[in-house]
């Protein structure tokens, strides 16, 4: 193995350890942490890792501090971004159950996220709970919203307004979700 290959092979292993294992309260690693651990060429290491993960149907996901994806990020933006490993392809509802989500809870999450998107990223908790109550038992609605907040899908301010949080930005293709909901036709 050439010196260069060996260099990147060891960096890839280190990046895998850092990204797969949860080290902080939130999963993933900040760009500056990766720079510290892997060196200044960490974006290249992540690119190699992403290519490698393709065959496993996984990907390295970058979540920028700003709400939207940045096309050509600067080093500063990368340093502040959070890097995570997510699934690359689709998951089936059956698989969702296997990773610990009940159909009810997942449906509730989808509804809450779509509704908040339609309300320009901010909606009163009461309105979200009302729409959830349509299909979920009343006692469960508040608990579910709290759970979505705890997991980082939603966040809430002191005026009980709900917003989308970092995990939704990392895991959910918001445009595609709204398009799919709107284009859904009853079979």
């Amino acid at each position: 193995m050439s010196k260069r290959k060996a260099y990147y092979a060891s960096k890839l292993k280190r990046a895998t350890h850092l990204l797969f294992y949860k080290r902080h309260k939130k999963p993933g690693v900040k760009g500056w942490e990766l720079r510290k651990a892997l060196g200044s060429d960490y974006p290249k290491v992540l690119k190699l890792l992403d290519d490698y993960l393709k065959m496993l149907d996984l990907q390295v996901k970058t979540v920028f501090e700003e709400e939207r994806t940045v096309e050509k990020p600067t080093l500063e933006q990368l340093d502040k971004a959070r890097f995570l490993i997510t699934l690359r392809g689709e998951i089936t509802p059956k698989e969702a159950k296997m990773i610990g989500w009940r159909v009810d809870d997942l449906a509730g999450l989808a509804i809450a996220i779509s509704y908040i998107i339609s309300k320009r990223g901010k909606a009163p908790r009461k309105e979200v709970e009302d729409i959830l109550r349509d299909k979920l038992p009343g006692w469960k609605v508040g608990l579910n919203v709290d759970r979505y907040i705890r997991y980082g899908y939603l966040t809430q301010d002191e005026n009980e307004q709900l917003y989308l949080d970092w995990r939704t930005r990392a895991e959910v293709d918001q445009n595609a979700l709204v398009d799919l909901v709107l284009s859904h036709e009853k079979a």
Binding site: F20, Y21, K22, P27, G28, L58, K61, L84, I85, T86, L87, R88, E90, I91, T92, P93, E95, A96, I99, V103, D104, L106, A107, L109, A110, I111, I113, S114, Y115, I117, S118, K119, R120, G121, K122, A123, P124, I131, D134, K135, D146, R150, Q156, D157, E158, N159, Q161, E171, V172, D173, Q174, N175, A176, L177, V178, L180, V181, L182, H184, K186
Partner: protein, 275 residues
């Protein structure tokens, strides 16, 4: 003919109404175009020459501030409408209501890429744990300084328990409520701008009582009856009572703030050297 004073009062009411409307738009995510910015600016212009006292000028500035916020929301609203994320909320709500749970889950599964996160103990943490275990004294050695005496069982009345300070004569919640009223009263009398210096509130004639008050104050803050305001540069700590207990929303990260209430500090406070 309307007198000058009446005209001023009318102006104040008008400005307050504008502020309230703007606030409700800001807080409840209502359509920001419900606010007539131009009309309200004209009203501001109309009353501005009347204002003489600082309070009225502040009201005017606050109105301008809120109108500016609503203008910003209008700009964001236009931007959002021009993006692909814009959707008519009513249309989306209608769709969601008509979809079955299974349909919703199937749709969501198509756009959801859950994060992979593993939790596993590392070799380093195992080593640290073993080192900790090795240095840990056996239970019998750790507990030997607390010899258990032979106890006789018996009965005690509530009054006896109160006199031995095992029970209080009032429930804790009642006591907390009374303490909160005390805080509000002390703030109104001795504080300023709705807050009071921490030591001026918890400080008492005896050190024991001071510790007791500091203990109760910590519960007032934890349960949302009051909050702390800390000025690190000035090394000042204030307690700010809420008029209504603030609900714990669960989304905020709670932080612990240690405040030392040592006998030396208490003595300093008694001498007026500490606030």
């Amino acid at each position: 003919m309307q007198s000058k004073k009446e005209h001023e009062n009318l102006g104040r009411e008008k400005l307050q109404r504008i502020i309230d409307t703007c606030k409700s738009v800001e807080d409840r995510a209502l359509d920001p175009f419900l606010v007539d910015i131009k009309g309200n600016i004209n009203a501001l212009k109309e009353y501005f020459p009347e204002w003489r006292i600082p309070e009225d000028l502040c009201l005017d500035a606050e109105t301008v501030h809120h109108l500016a916020s609503v203008t910003r929301l209008q700009s964001e609203w236009v931007k959002h409408r021009s993006t692909s994320l814009y959707t008519d909320p009513f249309l989306l709500e209608d769709k969601i209501r008509r979809m079955t749970k299974a349909d919703i889950v199937e749709t969501f599964a198509k756009v959801w890429r859950p994060t992979i996160e593993l939790e596993q103990i590392s070799l380093r943490s195992i080593t640290e744990a073993i080192e900790y275990w090795d240095s840990l004294l056996p239970m019998k050695e750790r507990w030997k300084e607390f010899p258990l005496g032979e106890n006789e069982t018996g009965t005690a009345t509530r009054e006896e328990l109160i006199s031995q300070r095992i029970l209080r004569d009032r429930s804790f919640s009642e006591e907390l409520e009374t303490f909160w009223q005390q805080l509000k009263k002390s703030t109104a009398e001795k504080g300023e701008n709705g807050k009071i210096h921490y030591w001026n509130f918890v400080g008492a004639d005896t050190y024991n009582e001071t510790v007791q008050r500091a203990f109760m104050a910590s519960f007032l803050i934890t349960y949302g009856y009051a909050t702390l305001e800390i000025h690190p540069l000035e090394e000042e700590v204030f307690i700010v009572p809420y008029q209504k207990p603030a609900p714990n929303t669960g989304s905020k990260q709670l932080v612990s703030i240690p405040i030392a209430v040592s006998a030396e500090d208490w003595q300093k406070w008694k001498k007026g050297e500490l606030q």
